[in-house]
């Protein structure tokens, strides 16, 4: 980035070439959600009962456990990208930007890890 010509002053600013990846990742995870979330909702709606034994036995089976873990990865990434765009639109001061940057780069990973550990515990026994 130089400070001579007009183009030299703005080159390298903006999306820093991550814009396309952000856009595509958002779309890819949207397609994933289109399969995963209806699977979760239909499964929950059609369950004969919502007591502990029934729900736990369902979540412990390989397919639902896999879907739940994929939700922890796919849906959290999708949410992370969307929340990031929202924050970029509304937060303009430097301090707020740092807080937002910390939020979207830490919280989703912490949440997803907690969710995955929970599903693994359900699927592999323990409680």
């Amino acid at each position: 980035m130089g400070n001579g010509t007009s183009i030299g002053r703005v080159r390298g600013l903006g999306s820093s070439h991550h814009g396309t990846h952000h856009f595509l990742s958002s779309r890819l995870t949207a397609v994933g959600n289109l399969v995963l979330i209806p699977f979760l909702m239909v499964s929950l709606a059609l369950m004969p009962s919502h007591d502990y034994a029934t729900v736990h036995a369902w979540a412990a089976k390989p397919l639902p456990a896999t879907a739940l873990i994929l939700i922890m990865i796919n849906t959290f990434q999708h949410a992370r990208l969307g929340v990031q765009v929202m924050l970029e639109d509304y937060i303009h001061e430097e301090g707020g930007k740092i807080a937002a940057w910390l939020l979207v780069n830490i919280l989703p990973f912490a949440g997803a890890a907690f969710g995955i550990v929970s599903v693994v515990r359900i699927a592999l026994g323990g409680a």
Binding site: L46, Y52, A79, I122
Partner: protein
């Protein structure tokens, strides 16, 4: 002098506009998306971790979010839980429908004024209908 004559139109007009279907579903997409991200994923984590914690912690989740056997504060949170859960299902269906609309717009289709307004309105019709069907199935099913 080089002064602009008065009453010249200013552009863009940031404060002069009226609601239309496209702008309504655009802001709904953002509101439902962020609602799902915070309330939806938060509740999902509470649910799955309560389930991982064993029968007692799962029962605590059910009591506070839906059943309210203890009354008092629990009946308030359980009412809130029902409102939030129904709201989240609607938010999901709305976000899904406007998300599919975005896929269509991504390929460059659906920008004609009439088609754009029609499909925008249809996403709301869909989300309300799908939410009703979903909860009809849940509640008419022998559960809880």
């Amino acid at each position: 002098m080089a002064q602009a004559p008065g009453k010249r139109p200013l552009s863009p007009h940031l404060e002069i506009w009226r609601w239309g279907p496209a702008m309504l579903v655009s802001i709904l997409h953002r509101i439902t998306g962020n609602g799902l991200a915070f309330a939806g994923l938060g509740l999902l984590l509470w649910w799955v971790s309560a389930l991982a914690g064993g029968p007692e912690s799962y029962q605590t989740f059910l009591d506070w979010v839906w059943l309210a056997p203890a009354g008092g504060l629990q009946s308030v949170t359980a009412l809130l839980g029902k409102v939030v859960l129904v709201g989240l299902t609607w938010a999901f269906f709305q976000h899904m429908a406007t998300g599919i609309r975005h896929f269509v717009l991504d390929i460059g289709a659906g920008y004609e004024l009439e088609a754009n307004a029609r499909w925008s309105s249809l996403t709301i019709l869909f989300s309300v209908a799908a939410t009703s069907v979903f909860w009809a199935v849940v509640l008419l099913h022998p559960s809880l």
